[in-house]
Structure formats: C-alpha cells, structure tokens
C-alpha cells in the first residue's frame, strides 16, 4: 500500500464507517476492512477502478465528486477520506466543505506543490514542473488545482476547519529530517486529519 495510505489507516478507528472519495482500486477500503473491520463505500468515476473494486468485493459507487455529495446525509460517516484527489477537483473548497458536512472527521492527502523540486523547476526553467512526483504536462493533467501545505492550511482557516493532525511524507528516508524542519519545502505528500469546528 502507498505510504500515505498507511498513515491514513492509523487515524481510523476500528469498526468505523468510512467514505473514500476517489477510492481508486479499493485497496485502502479492502485493507481497512481486513485490519480494522470498517464498513464503507468508495466513490469513483474511472471504469477500470470501479471494476477493480468490484473484483475485490469493495462497495463502490460510480459518482462524479465534482457534482458534490448532496446525496449523503450530514455526519453519516465517521471518516471521509480523500487520498491524492483534491487537486483534481473543479472546486476543492466546496468538496472540502462537503466532506466535513458528511463526515465527523476527514482525512485529506495531496502532493505538495511547494516542494523544492517544483520550486526549483519553475525558478530555473521558468516552466511548470514536470518530475517523477508530478509527471504531467500542464495542458494535459488531472491535477488542475495544485496547492502547497501553506495554501491548504489557509483554506482550512477560512473554512473554519480544525487540523487534528498533520503528517508529512517523503519517499526517501534521508529527506525525512529535512521535511520535519521545513515541511513546505521538503515534504512531498501531506496528510491532514481534519474536523469541523464545533463538531464532535
């Protein structure tokens, strides 16, 4: 499992009810069902991913997240997860607000656009970064709303969201210390554990 998904699992209580937005091939839900006896659903739009979920026996609902979560009741899930998908949304702030309406807690992971490699690429070449972490050209990418850790935290403040935990992930162990020192410069992936202010 991807390193960010391992961390996600740490913040999920056994037996809880999970909604996984952009659930991919369903591996997170499957592993959480096996290790933490969670119940839940994944939302996806990619036919290949939907088929993969069904093959794993993971509940998957074909639903376009850009059209919102209006069909889900307030606080109807313990945790709403969105791993590496918020940067692909048309309106990340609306999705985030909706997630916090539907879930008692939320976990969001995304790639850090403030990582030094991205900054270096833009500063040196004057072009949008293309790297092993961000492998798409600007004109043909699912990632339409990049942000940095700082950007995300500003949005959380504006939406009155409490950050319960933040974990910064790096691929190589050597970068870990640097990321602890300057997360917005050296962190590759952010994992945020959130709840709405005034929530439970």
């Amino acid at each position: 499992m991807r390193i960010d998904l391992n961390q996600v699992a740490n913040w999920i209580a056994p037996g809880s009810r999970i909604l996984d937005l952009g659930c991919g091939d369903g591996s997170l839900l499957q592993s959480l069902a096996a290790t933490k006896q969670v119940e839940g659903y994944g939302l996806e739009i990619d036919p290949g991913h939907i088929s993969a979920c069904i093959a794993r026996g993971v509940n998957v609902i074909e639903q376009d997240l850009d059209r919102g979560l209006a069909n889900f009741a307030d606080k109807s899930f313990d945790t709403v997860v969105m791993a590496q998908a918020i940067q692909t949304m048309h309106f990340p702030h609306r999705v985030l607000a909706d997630m916090l309406r539907v879930g008692k807690e939320c976990i969001v992971t995304f790639p850090n656009f403030g990582h030094w490699k991205a900054r270096w690429h833009l500063a040196l070449h004057g072009r949008m970064p293309v790297s092993d972490l961000l492998p798409y050209e600007w004109y043909d990418t699912p990632n339409i709303h990049f942000c940095t850790f700082k950007d995300f935290e500003v949005l959380c403040r504006e939406l009155d969201i409490t950050i319960l935990h933040r974990q910064v992930v790096t691929e190589r162990p050597r970068a870990r210390l640097l990321a602890q020192w300057r997360p917005n410069l050296f962190g590759e992936t952010a994992i945020y554990h959130l709840t709405a202010n005034g929530g439970e």
């Binding site: 009810r17 119940e39 659903y41 036919p47 939907i50 088929s51 979920c53 069904i54 093959a55 026996g57 993971v58 509940n59 998957v60 609902i61 074909e62 639903q63 069909n71 889900f72 009741a73 109807s76």
Partner: protein, 374 residues
C-alpha cells in the same frame, strides 16, 4: 447454452394475492441452466421483465432463429456463468408463455380467464418464486437478478425474504415508476382497450384478437426503450421506399416507421393483450417503500443481502436517477452496494444488449459470489 427444455411445476395450494383475491392453484413454467451443487448454494433466480418469459438462454430446437432473451449474459463463460451457477428462470404467472395467466382456463367457468384474471403485484410473483425455490430445495439463492420489472422482483425478494438471498442485482430498475412512466403505460393500454377486437378482454371467447391495439401498444413501448441517439444511429431519416423528389406524389416511408410496425406486428403475434395490461399494471403499482411508511431507507433496513445496481446513460424510461435513488437509500440503510452507470446508446434495452463494460462489471461481481462461502 445449447438446447434447453422448459419444465412445468404445478402448485395446488391456494395463493392469496395482494389484491385480496385467491388463485386456487397455478402452473409455473421454468427453465434451469447449469448444475445445482450438493449444498444447493449456487442457485441464481432470474426475474423477467414486462415482455420476457422463462426462456432466458439457449435454444429450444436446433431450428430456433434466436436464443433466449438474456443469452448474452447467461451461459458458460458469460457473466452469469452456468459452469458455476445453477440458473432458474421462471415465467411469471399472468404471463402468456405457459404459466397460468389470462389465456389459461379458469377452472370455475371452464373458459379462458381473459380479463377476469386477477390483477397481480410484484409481491405475488415473489410468492410463486418462493414456492419454486422450496420445490427445488433451494433454501437461499446465491443471487436474485433482474432488469427493469425484474429488478423490482429482485428488490422485493430482498425486503420480504431477507434470509433467502445473498445478493440482489437490480439492473435498469426503479423503486417506483414516475408519472411520465405510468403515462406511457396508460397510453399503451388505451391502444389495446380501444381496439374493437378487444371485447373488454373477452376476445378469446369470441375468437377475436386485438392485434392492432397490442401492436400499437408495443410500438409506443418500443420507442421508450430506445434512445433518441440510438434511433438516430440505427435509422436516421433513411427511406424504406419513395422519395422526396419535387413533382412526385409517391408516398414516402421512413425506415423507422417500417421497423416499428414490424416490431409491433411480431410482438402482437407472440404476446397476449390481457397479459400486457396485467404486466404494465404491476409495473405501475410497484412501490418498494409504500408499506414501509414511504421511507426507502427504512424499507432497505429489512434487507440482509449485498446489492449490485446498474443503470445505462441513455435509459430515459428507467433513468440512472432512479437507480441512484435505490443506491442512496441502500447507503442510508447501511447496506452493501455497488453501483455502475454504463455508457450505452441503447436506452432501456441496453440491459439486454452486449456491452463490454456492463459485461465486465457483471462478470466480476458474479465471480466474487462464486468465491465467497455462503
């Protein structure tokens, strides 16, 4: 699937119907495909739609032009794989293909039932299917599967006999019809009722048949089972005969006109007008949650099985929105469900037609059922 044989099961226990009337006994015609395993855990029930019957797969004779109505999806190596599953496919009572219906003889009068055959609801069919399951020794279906009106039966099973199925597959279905959908049914019924050969449903006794009315009813239905797009691609404005040349008064016939008339004609020969009225009424009356305080979430809380719901993008008779309502209610009731919305330009008929993604989703879901232990 090869050659298949229908069987007939007679029930001599009275069946109390949802409308309060009673059928003293009835025949149920059904087909089976594949082998029932020793523990009887691999049985799958197929519920047919408005104009379907028990002949879902294979051929009756080597000379048959067409296989059963769901042969694309039932058979060895197909999504409902008869190498794994024992498939049971009955003809619903009220039908016109062997099970007791308006064409059968009413034992009390010695004449065909005709219009006097009792109105049926989806739950009545489920009761007869329970009798069939008992007869076959099937305590619990691995899955109950149906498209359209068949999906309604599958969902009714899930609510009324929760312990007797492990999976419910509802394809291109709905928890209840919309006003527009009922309106189409009523227009079709009026076509039959206004045919002078209908004789208030007693046409059989008078050696008559409302062929024209039934044909028009089918034409109306058929239009709603296709999509604008699909009809455009299949027929466009192609002419079957005549031309638009100036100065000619030749009558023009569009391909789509001739196609619809042919469909109507063929259908009126193989179907029964009273059955058509009965089936469309059963569709109209179906309301999954009516007896659960009109609360679909409360209704689905009675279900114990897992669900697969499938809809098709251009289906406007049973639109994806109706399937989404099913899915949302199931999520509200905290029931296991997966949902796929399949791209197809075949409208409502898409559930019968080969489609790569539909097949893939269906096959994977069914394979999982094989793998799990009951």
């Amino acid at each position: 699937m090869g050659l298949v044989q229908p069987q007939t099961l007679h029930c001599d226990q009275p069946l109390l119907l949802a409308n309060g009337r009673q059928l003293d006994g009835y025949d149920l015609v059904f087909e089976t495909y594949g082998q029932l395993n020793r523990d009887k855990t691999n049985a799958v029930l197929i519920c047919h739609a408005l104009s379907g019957n028990h002949h879902a797969a294979g051929f009756h004779t080597a000379e048959d032009q067409k296989p059963g109505w769901w042969d694309n999806y039932i058979g060895p190596g197909k999504p409902i794989d008869t190498d794994h599953f024992f498939v049971v496919s009955p003809n619903n009572i009220g039908g016109c293909h062997g099970s007791t219906g308006p064409r059968s003889i009413n034992p009390q009068t010695g004449k065909p039932w005709g219009a006097d055959f009792p109105n049926l609801r989806v739950r009545d069919w489920v009761e007869t299917q329970v009798f069939l399951a008992d007869h076959l020794g099937i305590e619990q279906w691995a899955a109950v599967i149906g498209g359209s009106l068949g999906g309604m039966q599958a969902m009714r099973w899930a609510l009324e006999y929760p312990g007797r199925l492990r999976h419910c597959v509802a394809i291109a279905s709905a928890m209840k019809l919309t006003a527009q959908n009922i309106a189409f049914n009523e227009t079709a019924r009026q076509a039959i009722l206004s045919d002078p050969h209908f004789f208030d449903g007693d046409y059989a006794a008078r050696d008559s048949y409302p062929k024209k009315g039934l044909s028009v009813a089918r034409m109306i239905g058929h239009i709603t089972y296709l999509s604008d797009d699909g009809m455009g691609q299949k027929f466009g404005r192609e002419l079957r005969s005549g031309s638009f040349e100036r100065g000619t008064d030749e009558p023009v016939e569009f391909e789509v006109e001739s196609y619809l008339r042919h469909q109507g004609d063929a259908f009126s020969q193989r179907f029964d007008a009273n059955t058509y009225l009965l089936m469309t009424k059963a569709l109209d009356y179906f309301d999954l949650a009516r007896e659960y305080d009109n609360d679909p979430i409360a209704a689905f809380r009675h279900a114990r099985c897992r669900f697969l719901v499938i809809a098709f993008t251009t289906d406007w008779r049973f639109s994806p929105l109706r399937s989404r309502e099913i899915v949302d209610a199931l999520i509200g009731a905290n029931r296991a469900v997966s949902y796929a919305e399949i791209d197809s330009h075949f409208g409502h008929d898409a559930f019968l037609i080969p489609n790569r993604r539909y097949s893939d989703v269906f096959r994977r879901y069914m394979l999982n059922i094989c793998r799990e232990s009951p």
